[in-house]
Symmetry: C2
Subunit: 306 residues, 2 copies
C-alpha cells in the first residue's frame, strides 16, 4: 500500500547466506552475505524494506540482529530445518575476475518464498537472481506492484531461457550485466541485445558494467552513470545487489517511476554499490547513512557535467 | 601562432598507412589508415590541421587527394624512398577483440618527422603512438605549444618505460586505454595508476575505455563521457586516433585549454570516434561535417542528465 505522500515499501526476494571471501590482500570467513541481504541493506536507507528469504537453524543471531537493527522487516525470513546457504568466492588481483570456490545451497534447495501479507499489494519488488520458476511463483503472489525489477544470471539464461523470458515479460525492469545481456539477447552488440529484452515487455533494462558504471535503457533512450572511482576496492561482492536495492528504495521513497526518478535511481544505485565494495561483506553498507549517500550523489553530478 | 580570436592550429604527428581489415562480416584491402590519418581527418572538422608523417612512393594518389580535399595541410608528409607502412587487423565477432595479422613498417623504420616551420610555434600537438625517442625529437622541435597530447601503447611501455616517462613529463595530456594505464602505472587499480601518471607532470590523463567511453582525469577530479550506443560497429580501427584528433581540434577551435573546454573536447572525441567506427577505414570519418558532429554532441547532453 502507498503512504498518503505516494511513497511505498520495498519487498526484496533473494538469498541470505554465509560467505567466505578471499582477495589478493585478505580473506574473511563466515560473513553475512546473499542477494537479499545486500539489496535490503541498501534499500532501507531510502524506504521501509521487507525481506523474503530462507535461512537454516545455524544462522547466527548476530547476523539476524544486524538486519533487525537496520529496521529491515524480517517477517518474510523463514527459518527452515537445515543449514544456511553458504558461498565461497575468490577474487584475482584484478578484482573484475572472480572464481566461485564453493556453493552449498542447503535450505535454498527447497526455497519457496512467501511474500508477507502486508506487503503483497502495491509494493516495489526486487526479484533477486534465482531459479526463474521461483521468481514466477513470487510474481503470482504480488498484487498490483508499483514496480518490479528482476535479476538473473548465465546459469538460468543458458539452462532455462524460456522460463527466464516468461519472468522478464512480467517485470518493469530487467537488471543484468553486459555479458548476461549479450547472452540473453543472443547478440554481442549490447544495444541490439537490450532491444531484444525490451521487445519482451519490460519498459526498462539496466545494464550493469562493473567498474564502468551502469546504463538505463528504455524507449526514451540511454542514460549512463559512471562507477565511482575508488582507490581501494576491498570486496566487490554484493555491488550489483546493493545497486538494485538502492535503485528500488529510491523509487519507493519518491513514490514515482517517472524517467527522471529512474535516472536518479541509477545514480543512487551506483552510490550504494561504491560504498559496498569499500569493505568486506556488509561492513560498510550496514553503516551507511542517508547523509553518506547524499554527499556522494552530489559528486556524481559533477562527473558528467559539460 | 594563434589567430586574433585565440583559436589555433593542430599538428598531428603519426603514421599514414595502407590497411587490410577483416571483421566477422566483411573485409577490405588496401584502404587508407594510420594514426595521423584518423586524427587529422577528425581534427580538420574543427581547426586548421597539419600532418607530419611519411609514406612511400607507392602511396596511392587517391589517398593523398582524399586528405588534400579535406583541407589537411600535407606540407609535413614526406615521401621517402621505399614502400608505405602496411598493417593488417582482424576483429572477432566481439569487436573488442582484435588480432594484428601483419605489420610491415617499410618507410616508417627510418621515420624522422619534421614539424613544418609555419607550425612549429604555438600549435596544439598530437603525438600519435610511436617510438618514444621519435616523440622526444618532435618535442625538441616545437616551441611554446599551446597543448601537447601523447598516445603510447604496451609495446613501448614494456620495452622502454623510462623513455615513455620522459615523453609524458613534457606533455599536457596523456591518452591511453585502461590496460595501458594499468601497465604504465604498475597498478591494476585505474584511479591509482592514473595518479602515477599525473605525478610525472601531465595535467591531464584521458582514459579510453572503448565501448564504455572515456574519462578525463586531473586535479579537478573525474569527468566521464559514455561511448555513443551503436547498433552496428562496422570497423573499430582508428576510433582512438579520431577521438584524439577531435579532442585537440576542438581545443584549437576554442583557443582555450580550460577544464570546461577539455570536458567538451572529450565529448567531441567520443562523437568523432562513434562516426569513425560506423564504416570501414575513413569512409564515414572523411564525409563527416560539423553539422553531423554537433547533432550527436547534443545527444550526449541527454545521456548523463539526471
Amino acid at each position: 500500500m502507498s503512504n498518503p505522500d505516494g511513497s511505498g515499501r520495498v519487498v526484496v526476494i533473494g538469498t541470505v547466506g554465509i560467505d567466505d571471501i578471499e582477495t589478493a590482500h585478505a580473506s574473511v570467513q563466515g560473513v553475512l552475505g546473499g542477494s537479499a541481504t545486500y539489496a535490503s541493506l541498501a534499500s532501507r536507507c531510502f524506504a521501509p524494506t521487507t525481506m523474503s528469504s530462507v535461512v537454516g537453524h545455524d544462522f547466527p543471531a548476530a547476523h539476524r540482529d544486524l538486519l533487525t537493527e537496520r529496521d529491515i522487516d524480517l517477517s518474510g525470513l523463514h527459518t527452515a530445518d537445515g543449514l544456511t546457504f553458504r558461498w565461497g568466492g575468490r577474487y584475482a588481483v584484478d578484482m573484475n575476475v572472480r572464481e566461485t570456490t564453493f556453493v552449498r545451497l542447503h535450505v535454498l534447495e527447497s526455497f519457496d518464498p512467501q511474500v508477507p501479507p502486508h506487503t503483497v499489494a502495491g509494493s516495489f519488488v526486487f526479484l533477486g537472481n534465482t531459479d526463474p520458476s521461483i521468481q514466477l511463483r513470487v510474481l503470482d503472489q504480488v498484487q498490483d506492484p508499483r514496480f518490479v525489477m528482476v535479476d538473473s544470471m548465465d546459469f538460468w539464461i543458458e539452462g532455462d531461457r524460456e522460463q527466464v523470458a516468461r519472468v522478464f515479460q512480467r517485470c518493469d525492469c530487467v537488471v543484468l550485466n553486459d555479458e548476461e545481456v549479450r547472452l540473453f539477447g543472443g547478440d554481442v552488440n549490447v544495444p541490439r541485445a537490450v532491444r531484444r529484452i525490451l521487445e519482451l515487455g519490460p519498459q526498462y533494462v539496466v545494464v550493469k558494467r562493473g567498474e564502468f558504471g551502469a546504463a538505463l535503457v528504455s524507449d526514451h533512450g540511454w542514460f549512463f552513470a559512471p562507477a565511482y572511482p575508488l582507490d581501494d576496492v576491498v570486496d566487490p561482492t554484493g555491488a550489483g545487489d546493493s545497486f538494485a536495492g538502492a535503485f528500488l528504495g529510491s523509487l519507493a521513497a519518491a513514490g514515482s517511476t517517472h524517467e527522471a526518478v529512474l535516472r536518479r535511481a541509477v545514480v543512487y544505485g551506483s552510490v550504494a554499490a561504491s560504498f559496498t565494495v569499500e569493505a568486506f561483506s556488509v561492513d560498510r553498507l550496514a553503516e551507511l547513512t542517508r547523509h553518506d549517500i547524499d554527499s556522494r550523489y552530489v559528486e556524481f553530478g559533477d562527473f558528467a557535467a559539460f
